[in-house]
Amino acid sequence: MSDYVVMVKEQAQVYLAGPPLVKMATGEETNHEDLGGAEMHSKVSGVSDYLAEDEMDAIRLGREIVAHLNWKKGAAPVPRPVEPPLYDAEELLGIASADIKVPFDSREVIARIVDGSRFSEFKPLYGKTLICGSAYIHGFPVGILANNGILFSDSSNKGAQFIQLCNQTNTPLLFLQNITGFMVGQKYEQEGIIKNGAKMINAVSNSTVPAITIMTGASYGAGNYAMSGRAYAPRFLFTWPNHRIAVMGGKQLGGVLEIIQRQAAAKKGVEVDEQRLAVGKAMIEAQIEKESNPFFATARLWDDGIIDPRDTRSVVAISLSAAYTAKVRGTTSWGVFRH
């Protein structure tokens, strides 16, 4: 099915069905080379386009084929000098909280991955739990959205606006996730946290500039969604080894189950089996802890890999360069924003 096929002589074989299956199906006696060998496919069937003498020859042919694709990148940013960050990436290991309940200032992360540690912050005095702003990484322009706490109505609105602005200027997005979720409670519901959070999700979902997501700490609940989690199809998604990902924390989920079970027992007028409840709670907590582990997540392709935080700048730069192989074009068309 590929456009070009190279097969290695006396080594590569390809067929719909191998000799044993052919014998089972039709009774025909045959051998691997006559049925699907590289020479047969290169000289008789035409399944192979190039017959390589050996593996090294196949690799040489592969390089030759790519060379005659006449491939051009879809876009390239205006070339500019690349300054390394002013601060040592090594320090990211001391900045990133090993305990995801402990917050850390995402500006310290930005300062260690962007060119010259230079950052033009957007709306710095508004919705301060979401840092938005412009920077360059290895000369590529990026609009950065980085959590500095929980998402509130104002920070969500700010995020939605910033994503729209980056689409206006064809600027790729970099999400630095460290999010325990959206703020909950009566006050926040009355402020319309749902409709404001939905604005950010609308913007993330319909944005057409490339997005790269790095999970640097917590990735919980709808915060995972609003910050361009896997389901929102960022071009690349990498995680730091300290990160945790789940719908909510194990303790919270255990607590929620406890409240529900106590209410159900009270309604029925029966005693709560305390021991059973405690065991059930411990089990769910342990299960969530195991399933929110970065190794569990990466094993299941919830991300494109766990990276060493010190490599973040290089990994993002390679990803941005890859994204620029296609055209980088923002959109002006969005779903309905509920105001």
């Binding site: 069905a17 000799p19 590289a38 192979s48 790519v66 300054e83 290991l93 001391g94 890859a322 192989t325």
Partner: protein
């Protein structure tokens, strides 16, 4: 120096490397990174010493060697989904496939190579999902893809997990070709390829 080129202000750091918090984070993050290195070493070990030496004795290259050879001399290789299938029953870390982004003849490409030292490179559930993700990356970013295949085909005893969704791989290839994003394959040693759809 480049103030004219980039007038953005410089961020001031307030990190103090002498605090207990900093030291504790550094220590714990380093410990998880050591675990990461260990897991990646397992992935690089493929099917283990026995199968790796048998493979080499046949004069064949390992997947990472094949990738290193096809890349430009000064190219990066950003390996992706290196730990797919890690600690998942019936899988080895890496899911019998090595994949990533590198530069070939000056072109950024998505490259995959079968891990033939694990069950003859047979495609398992996680490997299928990983290869699907690599195809998605190539398509979304409009990158040519190179597949270096040495695979026994489908992992037949586990066919129920891959047969139906697995058909998508062929659909993706031809649709990419239509979108003029060339997929190219170099078969180095595809042993019996079990395509369960076609027996005629």
């Amino acid at each position: 120096m480049n103030d004219a080129a980039q007038p953005y202000p410089v961020l001031r750091s307030r990190v103090d490397a002498r605090t207990d918090d900093y030291r504790a984070n550094y220590e714990q993050n380093s410990a998880v990174l050591a675990k990461l290195d260990e897991a990646l070493a397992q992935a690089r070990a493929g099917g283990g010493e026995k199968y790796v030496s048998r493979h080499k004795a046949r004069g064949r290259l390992l997947p990472r060697e094949r990738i290193a050879m096809i890349c430009d001399r000064d190219s990066h290789f950003l390996e992706l989904c290196a730990l797919a299938g890690y600690d998942v029953k019936g899988h080895k870390p890496g899911a019998s496939l090595v994949g990533g982004i590198a530069v070939v003849s000056g072109v950024e490409c998505v490259i995959t190579a079968s891990e033939a030292t694990v069950k003859g490179g047979a495609i398992n559930e996680m490997g299928m999902r990983k290869s699907g993700r690599m195809a998605e990356i190539a398509e979304q970013n409009r990158m040519p893809s190179i597949s270096m295949i040495e695979s026994a085909g489908a992992d037949l005893p586990n066919q129920s997990k891959i047969f139906v969704p697995g058909g998508r791989g062929f659909r993706d290839l031809t649709r990419k070709s239509r979108a003029r994003i060339p997929p190219s394959a170099s078969y180095s040693a595809a042993r019996p390829r079990a395509a369960p759809t076609s027996r005629a």
